[in-house]
């Protein structure tokens, strides 16, 4: 019941590899890791959620604040490789229309 955050910095891009669960306990740590990456103009933040097997609204909140920050700082964020259950929450809340989500979904369609 934890979240491992591994950030790989490339030239104008950071890949954030997440593994574990995003909930009220792990969310503050994730926010601290992701928000600073969105502060650089022109920077792309790619969040790889392939190993995230649980997420709830606390995670949605973080990605919303990160998205806001990208708009303020002229950077970009993409979410990639969401598991079905995690993607489902973005769909239920309509956030899949607002946040850029990579089409390569593990586990096929619902």
């Amino acid at each position: 019941m934890n979240l491992v955050i591994d950030i790989v910095d490339e030239n104008r891009k950071s890949i954030v590899n997440l593994s574990g669960e995003i909930d009220a306990y792990t969310a503050p740590k994730l926010k601290e890791a992701i928000l600073p990456l969105t502060k650089h103009s022109g920077h792309l933040v790619e969040v790889n959620l392939e190993e995230v097997n649980y997420m709830d609204s606390t995670g949605l909140g973080i990605f919303i604040s990160a998205l806001k920050s990208t708009k303020e700082n002229d950077s970009q964020m993409k979410l990639a490789n969401l598991q079905d259950r995690v993607l489902r929450l973005f769909k239920i809340t309509g956030l899949d229309n607002i946040i850029e989500i990579n089409a390569a979904i593990r586990g096929g369609n619902e």
């Binding site: 909930d23 609204s57 973080i62 919303i64 998205l67 806001k68 708009k71 607002i98």
Partner: protein
């Protein structure tokens, strides 16, 4: 109909115990014969309810408890999440929930307030009592085929 098992747990109102509550409900729902998808829904719903209790009710000091009750019926699971510490403004929260529309501008996006919306979306029945602290009572039904699989007599005529 009135025959059911009741399980009660008390947790400190701290975020690190939300995951423990998820494991508990996962075990109970699995024993009852819920599907994988339903169990995942239950895990999110109970987490949202507890997160609400932890972040709203006990904002000031870290003390306090969250009480969780599981009513295990033949055809459904009732989950009660109660905090008796404080209360939050229910109307304010109800007004702030709902799915996004694609034409909403990013600046206006809410960062919170999804908890109750998700509970409503994922559970079959939700009641909220806001008189003394906050009590969320939510129900998920086993659907008929699952009840069949949950019977002791798995074998059919051969």
């Amino acid at each position: 109909m009135t025959n059911f098992d009741f399980i009660e747990m008390k947790f400190p109102a701290k975020a690190e115990y939300v995951g423990v509550a998820r494991l508990s409900i996962s075990g109970i729902a699995n024993r009852m014969g819920f599907t994988y998808e339903d169990i995942e829904d239950l895990k999110v719903a109970i987490s949202e309810a507890i997160t609400n209790a932890v972040t709203h009710a006990y904002h000031e000091d870290d003390k306090g408890e969250v009480t969780i009750g599981f009513g295990v019926y033949e055809n459904r699971l009732e989950v009660m999440v109660a905090d008796h510490g404080g209360s939050f403004n229910l109307n304010e929260i109800k007004n702030g929930i709902g799915p996004y529309k694609s034409n909403e501008s990013v600046e206006n996006l809410r960062e919170g307030g999804f908890g109750l919306f998700l509970i409503n979306a994922l559970m079959d029945k939700v009641q909220i009592n806001n008189n003394f602290g906050v009590i969320v009572l939510m129900t998920k039904y086993l659907n008929e085929t699952e009840v069949g699989f949950d019977d002791d007599q798995i074998s059919t005529t051969q």
